[in-house]
């Protein structure tokens, strides 16, 4: 035979030893990316065909605004998960930063009040990270304690919701640039900068490497503790920002807001293929995870599905997605 006419289709072996076909474009394995895009496209298509309100400008703008909170929290969560940790405190930080900002608006210029909200998130993240890195405490336990402590602090600050009257307070959450909400652009910017941070800067690569093998990283002369603190600080900052944006969008800050937000953030990372053991996860796929979650929520809302059933369905969908991923994972 002079030339090979057929190339064997690229395959990998799944954990049970079965062949799984791969989609390879330009030498890169894009199977999961293709699966994601298909899933999102199907969700959008189903939504557009079955719910006539889906494609209305109001709903689409809503959708873009709704994804901001989950998006910001998910990026911060991804950074922490990459180190092999977890941050359960982000939902409480959302409530705290929101209520503090709303409370300060009457006395301080709005940008300053908002900055304080974000800085409070940074502060909480710093404390989480310091406890975890310095005293080698389990991230789950430290951030669980932080979850209840910070929630308590939010109620201590104000037991009742605070609704600032200054219309300037609503700008951040409601302004649009053309058809796109400014808050959505901010979130996209976080994902873009975050993607560059994790793939192309020394601290970003160190964070990924620490989740893979912290001792190797330490022996390579990199300060592991400092990078772990950085990861939790980033997560805290994202949560602080999310709290400010959410309060501004809704127009009212409640100390009870954000319960279980951390679970959606974790879900988005996991749907995006991040490993809770650390060292594996991608910014792009996490963004895909956010899209999937938000689309599902929106769709179920449009159908008027009762919220309890929404929770059930969301849980089942998460299981389905990670099962697909497991079948797709290359055995090394």
């Amino acid at each position: 035979m002079t030339g090979q006419l057929t190339e064997p289709a690229p395959t990998t072996t799944d954990p049970r030893g079965r062949r799984v076909p791969r989609l390879v474009v330009g030498g890169r394995d894009v199977t999961m990316a293709a699966a994601f895009i298909t899933l999102i496209a199907v969700l959008v298509l189903v939504a557009a065909l079955t719910a006539d309100t889906f494609l209305t400008p109001t709903n689409l703008t809503n959708l873009l605004k709704q994804m901001v909170t989950t998006g910001l929290l998910s990026f911060g969560m991804l950074v922490v998960i990459l180190t092999g940790g977890i941050d359960l405190s982000v939902g409480s930080i959302v409530a705290f930063s929101g209520i503090v900002t709303a409370g300060l608006v009457s006395g301080l210029p709005i940008p300053v009040a908002m900055a304080v909200g974000v800085v409070s998130g940074i502060g909480f993240g710093l404390v989480n990270g310091a406890l975890i890195a310095r005293f080698e405490l389990a991230p789950f336990v430290v951030t669980l304690a932080a979850l209840t402590t910070i929630r308590g602090l939010a109620f201590v600050y104000s037991e009742v919701p605070i609704a600032p009257e200054d219309p300037g307070f609503f700008t951040l959450g409601s302004a649009t640039l053309g058809p796109v909400p400014v808050s959505t652009l901010i979130m996209l910017a976080v994902f873009l900068v975050g993607g560059v941070f994790l793939t192309r800067t020394p601290p970003g690569r160190s964070i990924v490497a620490i989740g893979g093998n912290a001792e190797t990283v330490r022996l390579a002369g990199i300060n592991v503790r400092r990078h772990v603190v950085l990861a939790y600080t980033i997560s805290g900052a994202c949560a602080g920002l999310a709290g400010v944006v959410l309060a501004s969008r809704v127009g009212i800050a409640q100390p009870s807001v954000g319960v279980a937000f951390e679970l959606d953030a974790i879900a988005a990372c996991v749907i995006g293929g991040a490993s809770l053991a650390g060292g594996r996860g991608s910014v792009r796929a996490t963004f895909g995870g956010v899209l999937v979650l938000v689309l599902i929520n929106n769709l179920l809302n449009l159908y008027g599905v009762q919220s309890f059933w929404q929770q059930v369905l969301k849980g089942l969908i998460i299981i389905a997605v990670i099962l697909v991923q497991r079948t797709n994972r290359v055995r090394s």
Partner: protein
């Protein structure tokens, strides 16, 4: 039990790694399988153990066709495999590890006295009576853990025992116990399949030797009809005149000196100096404190007392980063746990030590990094040549080791500490590593080569420090000493 493989092929995603292997093992034989890394030994073991299925070919047990779909099937047919990687549970006692799920019971509850007695009996029957069954497995030395691992495989009295590099972490009397055990199993009619890089022990133990190269069996022979050098030649596919380069060192100024360094419970009052252009061996049996010493000198663990001096000045390394800044590099003994980040690319791994120094603004200077890493891949001939974006775990063992070396050489150290750099590495990679160490020393590096391989420590160094129970008990010139003399110091019986 007679085990037979015929025309066994295995491919991974279209790439064939075994091209029709034939193998016959009979009861009471010790069948040694030798070959370079990447020759296909690991795949062969995985097929025997049921961890992987073959793509073509057949397996026959006592003449009957057999097919393994999982390790469980292999166990059911009496085939047990002990891998290099330990699988014991460190938080459980030796007894629990051995009897796992098969405890003697009394009134429905576990009868612990009987369980420990049974574990003790089992350990004694295979000559490992030195291990106390009540100890937590994780408290044992790596060598003893390896022995528990072997004992665990023997609980079910297998008829075929596959040992993958069983001696890699053993030395001294532990090694003797292993050899005695293999001989005893042979007498009992067990077929032992023994995979090892250490040709000396293969020559001593095997009844037949199978040489694997590039996914094929290229020779089947017996110890009486071959020699170590012939085996090396077969494995590498060429004659190798000399394993160790000729050393004629002209040591320069002192690069690193250690004075009375002590870390309580690990080593005491250790002093030595390393000069530019010199390769110093550090020999000691498992548990002698050599790796702990290296980690402490490198700043990975704090010292209780003593000093480390670099180029004359006093230094205190509070973290490895301080040691690296002073020109030190440490290639650790366990590349999986402390040398590599398995999930990351070869590029990320080799670039790890130099990442912060190779910046353009806040970003890593990707072009420069790619170029420097590429040079290292070339220089150490890491295979495959275009591996930069591959995940490092997908390299073969020898090439992973080269990647760890590359990571440290990129940092341009002046003092290189190598802890067991050739453990689990095939002969041709070994030779490449010895050549490289020699070249580095000629360029003026000071090298400390920690090893538990007597031949290596004798052949590849200029001077040898011997450790026993945390103390340096001897300092010998490599060209004027013998293996016996080194060993005598290592077990504290030097005249």
């Amino acid at each position: 039990m007679t085990l037979e493989l015929r025309g066994v092929r295995k491919d991974y995603g279209g790439v064939e790694v075994l091209h029709g292997v034939d193998l016959v093992g009979r009861p009471g034989e010790v069948l040694a399988v030798v070959g370079a890394n990447g020759a296909g030994k690991s795949t062969l073991i995985k097929i025997l153990s049921g961890a992987q299925s073959m793509s073509a070919g057949e397996m026959r047990i006592d003449g009957e066709a057999a097919e393994f779909r999982s390790p469980h099937d292999a166990h059911a047919r009496g085939i047990r495999t002990v891998y290099q990687e330990l699988s014991i549970v460190p938080g459980l006692s030796v007894t629990e590890n051995l009897l796992m799920g098969n405890f003697p019971k009394r009134r429905g509850l576990i009868d612990w006295a009987a369980a420990h007695a049974r574990a003790r009996e089992l350990l004694e029957s295979i000559g490992f009576g030195a291990i106390d069954p009540r100890t937590l497995a994780g408290r044992l030395s790596v060598a003893r853990q390896q022995m528990v691992e072997i004992a665990k495989a023997l609980v079910s009295e297998p008829r075929v025992l596959v040992l993958d590099e069983p001696s890699a972490v053993l030395a001294g009397s532990d090694l003797e116990s292993l050899f005695a055990l293999v001989r005893r199993l042979r007498e009992r009619g067990v077929l032992v399949i023994y995979v090892s890089h250490r040709l000396a022990e293969v020559m001593e133990l095997a009844t037949s030797i199978v040489v694997v190269k590039d996914g094929r069996v290229i020779a089947t022979t017996e110890p009486a009809r071959t020699s170590e050098s012939e085996l090396i030649g077969l494995m590498a596919g060429r004659r190798l005149e000399q394993i160790y380069p000729d050393r004629r060192a002209e040591p320069g100024e002192v690069r690193l000196s250690v004075h009375g360094l002590t870390r309580r419970g690990e080593f005491e009052d250790v002093s030595f100096a390393l000069r530019a252009g010199e390769i110093v061996g550090l020999f000691g049996l498992v548990g002698s404190g050599r790796s702990e010493l290296a980690r402490c000198v490198f700043g990975a663990e704090p010292a209780t007392s003593g000093q480390v001096k670099v180029a004359g000045g006093d230094v205190r390394f509070r973290a490895p980063s301080d040691a690296i800044a002073a020109g030190l590099a440490l290639v650790t003994e366990d590349r999986k746990r402390t040398g590599l980040v398995g999930g990351m690319s070869v590029l990320d791994n080799i670039g790890l030590t130099t990442m912060y120094g190779m910046r353009r603004g806040p970003l890593i200077d990707a072009a420069r990094r790619r170029e420097r890493v590429g040079e290292m891949i070339d220089r150490l001939s890491i295979q495959p040549a275009h591996c930069a974006s591959m995940r490092v775990v997908n390299l073969s063992g020898g090439n992973q080791q080269k990647a760890v070396l590359a990571k440290w050489l990129l940092a341009e150290p002046r003092v290189l500490i190598l802890d067991e750099p050739t453990r689990g590495v095939d002969m041709s990679t070994r030779i490449a590593i010895y050549r490289m160490i020699d070249d580095l020393a000629r360029d003026g590096l000071a090298v400390l080569l920690i090893s538990s391989d007597l031949t290596e420590v004798l052949g590849a160094t200029d001077r040898i420090l011997v450790m026993n129970q945390g103390r340096v008990t001897g300092e010998l010139r490599s060209d004027r000493t013998t293996e016996d003399e080194i060993l005598a110091h290592a077990i504290g019986q030097a005249a």
